[in-house]
């Protein structure tokens, strides 16, 4: 107990000064994951629901590219790219990669419900491992490199 409290007291100053940055980083991480998963989903949905009759015509490609779902997917993936670059300006690459990998799990779950794909026990095990990895990395400080010209604790 006492040892635990001592560790907590030692950690406290960093936690308090970094709290705002921490919240900002986590909120943006959620946004990065959502735009990626929904963007891929919209793309996938748009591609799978094309009329098959025109399959050999070049027109079908244009129709596919300009179909509402594919346009929505493209817009979401542009947002994903921008928000991920923003996140990389705030946090380490070795932080961003693991914490955004929850997207793999969400994609698998969306696949199950909307495309009737099966989730085997190995997939659930994989999901669990990704969650553990994400939590472990999420507990570390997002930015460990010296800021280039700007302060980090804002």
């Amino acid at each position: 107990m006492a040892a635990g409290r001592m560790v907590f007291e030692e950690l406290k100053p960093t936690v308090v000064s970094g709290r705002r940055l921490d919240f900002k980083t986590k909120a943006l991480t959620a946004f990065v994951v959502l735009t990626n998963v929904l963007g891929n989903f919209a793309m996938s949905w748009g591609m799978k629901h094309q009329p098959a009759a025109l399959a050999n015509s070049p027109l079908v490609y244009l129709r596919t590219i300009f179909s509402p779902w594919v346009l929505l997917g493209t817009a979401l993936l542009i947002l994903w790219l921008l928000s991920r670059m923003t996140l990389l300006s705030w946090a380490d690459l070795s932080y961003v990669l693991p914490v955004t990998s929850i997207g793999y799990v969400l994609t698998a779950i969306l696949g199950k419900y909307f495309f009737a794909e099966q989730i085997t026990w190995q997939r659930w095990l994989g999901t669990g491992a990704i969650m553990i990895g994400m939590i472990l990395v999420g507990l570390t400080s997002p930015n460990t490199t010296a800021p280039h010209g700007r302060e980090t604790n804002r």
Binding site: L82, M85, L93, S101, Y104, Q122, R123, G126, R150
Partner: protein, 122 residues
Amino acid sequence: MKWLMVAIIVGSTVLADLLQSFEMKRRGEVEVEDLRPGRIGGMLAGLARRGPLVLAVFFMAISFFAFMKLLSVADLSFAVPVTAASVVIETILAKLLLKEQVSPMRWAGACFVAGGVALLAV
């Protein structure tokens, strides 16, 4: 053919992420306000003028098309776990090239994630 595609996918993904991380740290923190609808265009234009970021997007495109090609010669259950390898490789390079401090907890997390992604595709 299969392993050549794998090498291209992993190599270009790693390069794209390292370039993005390097250049975005050099640019400095992006403000949340820059992501609002009225200013996002300007931010996009600003980023498009940065060579390393343009190169990163180019490598992302290569990775995407190589992934499509891989899917034509291999199953998704082979393609996805192979891309998980990039998480561990990028963590190693983030430490060596970007000088990030990768604590044991972060190493463990990266390994759990890579293993988990591999399992997802089984």
